[in-house]
Amino acid sequence: MKTTKLYLGPQHPGITGNMMIELDVEGNKILKSKTHVGYLHRGFEKLMERRTYIQSFPIVCRICVPEPDVNENNYARAVEKLSGLEVPERAKWIRTMVLEMARLQSYLLWMGGQSGSMGLYTMPQWTIGDRDYLLDRFEELTGGRVYHLYVWPGGVRKDLPIGFKTRMLDLMDYLESRMKDYTKLMFENAIFKKRAIGTGVIPKDKALEWGVVGPVLRGTGIKHDVRIDEPYEIYDKLEFEVPTYEGGDIYSRALVRKFEFMQSISIIRQIMDKIPEGPIYNRIPNPFKWKIPKGYTYVKLESSRGEFGYFMASDGSEKLRRVNVRGPAYVHGISLLEKILPGSRLGDVSTILNSLGVCPPEMER
């Protein structure tokens, strides 16, 4: 047998999270790669069918660990669509702010992962260290560092604390200044460019057909963003651009994420200035006897890794009939990886994986 079988398995420092890539390697080149998932499966969709709408609210945010707010927001909007619940204006503004903060901390985490997989160990220390200041803001707003349990059907649980605005604006200035250092250390780094340009290339014509979404799609030059195609919450009231870079390789994806990082900072600043006053929460009836009429809905939003959708079916009882989560990693981590990895070098596997933003828990829920 000419090939060597390598398991970049569940317990491997290069893999983000708990999945296994089975590689057939010949010398330094990869011939065939197969992704194995199921290491983090706890059948959460089955569990939500056994719980009423409000009981499955704490479970929902534990699907995707780096970005819990995306799930909370999706679940809340899906239930509101099914039950026809109205959300006050101020709650929408706060929800958008929470989403943008989630995008910021996810990009900081990505920068650490990407450069860590390439061997630049100073970058993760800086970025994940700065991400912690963002988690402090989350803790102040919602009481929890990672799992926030803050956005629920009908609005938001708490209003902004006093003085939150000034602290948030200071943090935004700090992050903007830090971006200069990150650019010098990572994005403009000669060796980073040499390794990133031309590796893990996704052809532009096949990108849509392979189901590529989010920054990875924009990295191939196709301009699609759920925040513009189908503005949810208050994205139609904000001004922000969506970048696209040609090339479809790791470097163009990195530039897309860098540009969006700066855009999120400007979005949060806009929200902080123009947030209206008013109630933050429409009370829902007794959660144990709250029956939602039969109906289907598909709600999606732009997470830091791409289109994150919730398909929800209710059957008139107080428990929901079916929920199905469609995360970007489901496509990026399995079918897309099996198309890109063959032909690339063994050393680039974890770099490509990080650049696609693969988060294993959302692959098998």
């Binding site: 061997g119 630049l120 060796i191």
Partner: protein, 302 residues
Amino acid sequence: MSTDSMYRLLVTIAVILGSIIYGFFINSLARRITARVQNRMGPPLKQPFIDVIKLYSKRTFVTHGIMQTLGPILMLTGIISTLILIPYGKGYLTLYSSNGDLITILYIMTFGQLAMALAVGQAGNPYGTIGVARGLTRMFGYELPLILALISLIALNHSADVNVIIANQHGGIANWNAFRHPFVGITALLAMLGMMSYQPFDNASAPAEVASGPITEFGGKFMAIMMTTNAMFVVAKLALLVDLFFGGASNIFILALKIFLLYLYPLFVGLVFPRFAMEDTFLFFWKWPTLIGFIGLAIAIF
């Protein structure tokens, strides 16, 4: 055993133990410096010693065969025999360097690496073998500029004996080899990056690509010996480079200081650069450093 050779033996043993301790000390200092650059505290200074004692106190050692048990011992032998060939100062501190010149030192360094490579081979882990293949390719890469630098030194000093080379560099900083012959100095410094297996060229034991490379199957006592030999190897290489390019040292403390300062150079380069891909590592050493090396050699001859 005349008193003179007995005395020399004692000094050698002292130097070997000293290089272990000093190797660990530099290692812990390096960890503190990297921590400071990454704005965090970093482990306490005595951490490497604690690690080695803990590794030694492990209760089970797992080997795949005789070669994996023999590997670390042979590596220790290779490193110690390299150490005794390098002069550390004047008088007895020249240890046994009267028995082998620069070419002998260059070749006996590979003895330790071969021993470790065989031990890794016996363990039968694909990651280990890939790590060794990468390490050897990198060695094949950085040897060219290193040899060019050493040969031009031999050509300049008309002798391959390290003590003679040190003697020729007496006097102020001006006539240290690194500054008197800039091209040779630059080649040696670039080649040194490869020797130290720090960040830009640590693809042999890159955790993300090949899970910790050659030492994947080594735990407990083998890992302890691996760490001590690593520390000694760092000190030996740096001492050799200090002797050849930075004027050697009259007493041991100046040598220690010079070794530490020289050690900072690959450390800082490693902190700000990610890892090269394997092909680029190989090509990097065969492009610019070799060109500068050839120029240096040409100047040295004519």
